[in-house]
Subunit: 204 residues, 2 copies
DNA sequence: GTCTATAGGACGATAGAC
DNA sequence: GTCTATCGTCCTATAGAC
């Protein structure tokens, strides 16, 4: 933790950057990208607005940095829960069943409502064509639909594309309700009950 | 259309108000409540910011006015599609089946993506406890869950509460995907396919 | 009833000191 | 690397003319 130079900073660039991204992640989840200001981020990260801009260039740059960071972290944690390598998630015969994939996602999401809220907020906000995250969410949706469809194929479902759309939609809608009042809905339990109806009984 | 006084205005108060609410409705759907400014509304409505504030008091007041107006219009259109009176929607043995209720909603929503987008945007934005529409959406969700549950009971479903949650979640998630790319998804057609799986075959 | 004018902030971003 | 200082813009809201 000791400074290696005689500059004033007591923190390395990656550490400071991580602190900024954490602050932004929390604030976007709370207030949305538009509802959050660089000042809010700066205060929460313990530096000034100019300091934040030095690291991420612009407000839009901050959003991009946050999303890229989340992609890395979330992909890794998903792969870990599924017991496969990260690259495996892109293979075509996917060695993961649809119920297993869904359960891994729901179990993880239940532990990080803040992150789920970040995505829920940005997903709606970015519907506008001019939003800085519009392209990102377009690609993300295509990727997710593909992943679910490959898992559905592995599970031997009749109509993989449609089932993929259904499970993803159901999951998003349920999570939105869970976010509104986490005490009213037990996400994991409710998902299990709902997916049984849709997939016809529980499986490994 | 002739002015009844010698003032400058060429429009009655209700007319001007309707124009303002229309403008705000469109802009909230496009950019969210936080992403939209009173100036934007004023320009689209053809008056100044001060003019807008005269009619709705404040920016938050504008949001309330928009939501109240939508409640009126949307409840009436839903009742009409179902062939019942508006008050009937609050009765406890609800004389409407769940598939009929869902189909009426989806059919109508397919014709007004702008309004669906307004709700999708605000629903996410208002997750924050301090948002001016937070209480509104909390109550709206409770009401919707109740309506769906009563329809489920009428349809003789085993678990009305859970089925209600499932259908509402599925509908929201599907609509979000439809909003992102309306050309990729035929909302009405896709809903029919998905709900068949969930409700076990089509019914009147 | 709608305007002009303006108050009074908050915002994103830049320049330059340290 | 982070700061201070500042610019120019946008914002909501109010006061008062017409």
């Amino acid at each position: 933790m000791a400074a290696t130079t005689r500059t004033r900073s007591r923190m390395s660039v990656p550490e400071r950057r991580a602190l900024i991204l954490d602050a932004a992640t929390q604030l976007i989840g709370d207030r949305g990208f538009r509802g959050m200001s660089l000042r809010d981020v700066a205060v929460l990260a313990g530096i000034t607005e100019a300091g934040v801009l030095y690291h991420v260039g612009s407000k839009d740059g901050l959003l991009v940095a946050v999303l890229e960071h989340r992609d890395e972290v979330d992909m890794a944690s998903l792969a870990e829960r599924l017991g496969v390598d990260v690259e495996t998630l892109d293979e075509d015969p996917l060695p993961v069943t649809l119920p297993a994939l869904c359960r891994a996602l729901v179990d993880r999401n239940a532990l990080q409502p803040q992150i789920v809220r970040l995505y829920a907020t940005l997903e709606a906000e970015s519907l506008e064509a001019d939003h800085p995250a519009n392209a990102y969410f377009r690609e993300r949706e295509t990727w997710a639909l593909g992943l679910f469809a490959r898992a559905a194929t592995t599970s031997g479902v009749e109509d993989p594309a449609r089932t993929s759309l259904a499970m993803l939609s159901l999951m998003d809608g349920l999570q939105l309700r869970w976010l509104r009042d986490p005490t009213r809905i037990d996400l994991v339990h409710e998902w299990e009950a709902l997916s049984e109806v849709f997939l016809g009984g529980p499986r490994a």
